[in-house]
């Protein structure tokens, strides 16, 4: 492919911008014209991190239009869905099916039940995309640097573009911090060789995360009954008793925000997790 349009999307901190820099460098080294345009900002708060990369003999606009992208590289499942309309029919959707629940999608702060979208594969009109699920985060971790999921996905992308692997490796050597170059090269190779995961069966939505319960411990001997924790607790878990000492009256509502612990002037409260952590 001597010309093409690629979208790279993810959430903040996943390395979308580095990935698009790497792709653009490879194209430039191949003597192509490249235009790149990115939006970044607070994807975890509902904003977007997206990078458009267009390359060819002569590129006029840096923006990929809806239905025009040859490949969409997504570092997160919901972001893949969000941008899938930009793929052309039959375009490649290379995605790590990890799920990062944005706070805005969280319906219950204690259980982290969310309105996160189901794993049903997206469709683009008549001809669906070639969906390619790569466990990029896991492969990156195995390669020695957990943050190189972006490079793993580039490895998967590279099998669909015409540039030789050596050109990619050269770009990685130039742009990635020296200390992690070797690990990133391993991650790239892992992405090239990765077998795509099978599609999950379409079905009901998944609610990632699990029940978390917190234990609020009060040292009554130190509590002076100043009422700060009672007034500050957003979940209304605490009350002063008749002696003016604080009691945890609704521990089941506690979300573990630690505000009471942070704002108790008398070091009388500590918040811990009950029964070990459940990964969110």
């Amino acid at each position: 492919m001597s010309e093409g349009s690629v979208l790279i999307v993810g959430v903040g901190g996943q390395g979308v911008l580095l990935a698009s820099d790497l792709l653009a460098t490879v194209c430039l080294d191949a003597g192509l014209d490249v235009k790149k345009s990115e939006v970044h900002g607070m994807a975890q708060r509902g904003g977007v991190v997206i990078s458009h990369v267009r390359f060819g003999a002569w590129v006029h606009s840096p923006l990929v239009e809806e239905g025009q992208a040859d490949a969409l590289v997504a570092l997160e499942w919901a972001e893949a869905l969000r941008w899938s309309a930009f793929l052309r029919p039959g375009g490649a959707l290379i995605v790590d099916p990890v799920q990062i629940v944005p706070p805005a999608a969280c319906a219950d702060r204690r259980t982290w039940t969310s309105r996160y979208p189901p794993m049903d594969p997206p469709s683009t009109g008549g001809r669906g995309p070639q969906l390619c699920l790569i466990p990029a985060q896991a492969l990156a971790k195995a390669a020695g640097v957990a943050r190189a999921a972006n490079v793993v996905l580039l490895g998967a992308l590279s099998t669909r573009l015409d540039f030789p692997p050596a050109a990619w490796e050269e770009a990685i050597r130039r742009l990635v911090p020296a200390a992690v170059v070797e690990a990133n090269l391993r991650a790239f190779a892992a992405g090239r060789d990765a077998d795509p995961l099978p599609l999950p069966p379409p079905g009901p939505r998944v609610a990632p995360g699990g029940e978390r319960r917190f234990a609020v411990a009060v040292v009554s001997a130190w509590c002076k009954g100043c009422d700060i924790c009672v007034r500050i607790c957003p979940q209304d878990c605490l009350r002063l008793d008749s002696l003016g000492l604080v009691r945890v009256t609704a521990p089941e509502r506690c979300t573990g925000c630690r505000l009471c612990e942070l704002l108790c002037p008398d070091f009388a409260i500590t918040v811990g997790e009950e029964g070990g952590a459940v990964v969110v």
Partner: protein, 264 residues
């Protein structure tokens, strides 16, 4: 030692907790941290920490700390002082420590009143507020401690709130890492005197009101070499965050270099 002697709802405990978290997250060795305090409610806190501590005379904490740092430059020295202690009787010591740019972290617990001695007017009491010695309202304008410190030459100046303990922890961490005189004006509260005389409520109300009296300064604005005095003055409320940062030779190192290798 616990419970500590501070009144119910006094913000100082929250500030101490933030400082302790900062020291813990920087993984400083407690035996190499020294806390030097003056006189007053805030300065009593030195008695509750398991570091090397020095409870100095009224207002002289910066002077004691300067001596300590010169004698034992390898220590991390933290000065805990209050607004009365640090800005009134100790005002001179504070400005000269800032001028020398000696590597200390100075936390000024600012509750706008003399708490320990019974609620007298302090140099930070807002004009018009009531205190024991100003029953009809304080006729004097207050100090802005941060502007004073910037003018005196402090190389890291920030303002934090007891109401924002995590931000405060990060300010302390930055101050501890800063190689030079780091000053943090911490807005605390004194429900017992300032709150009671001015009908500001107890601890919870006073804490909640801090947010209304301040505006956070973003990192972009703070990266400018110094916030212009005029800018600070025209801000709608007290600015918080890192207000000033510069690099200047540190005093201990200058002095050691001057004395050559043979420091006695």
């Amino acid at each position: 030692m616990m419970p500590h002697i501070l009144c119910p709802g006094c913000g100082h405990g929250i500030v101490l907790q933030a400082l302790l978290r900062a020291v813990a997250s920087l993984e400083l060795d407690p035996d190499r941290v020294a806390v030097v305090a003056g006189i007053g409610c805030s300065s009593r806190l030195a008695g509750y920490v398991d570091f090397c501590t020095l409870h100095a005379t009224h207002g002289r904490a910066p002077a004691f700390a300067t001596g300590l740092k010169l004698a034992r430059p390898e220590l991390t020295v933290i000065v805990i002082t209050g607004d009365g202690d640090g800005l009134a009787i100790g005002g001179n010591h504070l400005i000269h420590a800032a001028r020398r740019n000696i590597d200390l972290l100075c936390l000024l617990f600012n509750n706008a009143v003399y708490g320990m001695t019974g609620g007298q007017v302090a140099p930070t009491t807002p004009q018009g507020s009531r205190a024991t010695t100003a029953p009809r309202g304080n006729p004097e304008p207050p100090f802005d401690a941060c502007r004073l410190m910037i003018a005196a030459g402090a190389t890291f100046v920030a303002r934090g709130l007891a109401y924002e303990p995590l931000t405060l922890q990060h300010l302390c961490m930055e101050g501890l890492r800063h190689p030079g005189f780091a000053f943090i004006d911490v807005l605390s509260d004194c429900p017992e005197f300032f709150g009671r005389y001015n009908r500001l409520g107890r601890g919870p109300e006073m804490l909640l009101s801090q947010k209304r009296r301040t505006t956070a300064v973003g990192p972009l604005l703070a990266r400018k070499p110094a916030l212009e005095g005029a800018q600070v003055a025209t801000a709608p409320a007290l600015p918080t965050g890192v207000l000033h940062r510069e690099t200047r030779p540190e005093f201990t190192r200058l002095l050691l270099a001057q004395q050559g290798e043979g420091f006695p």
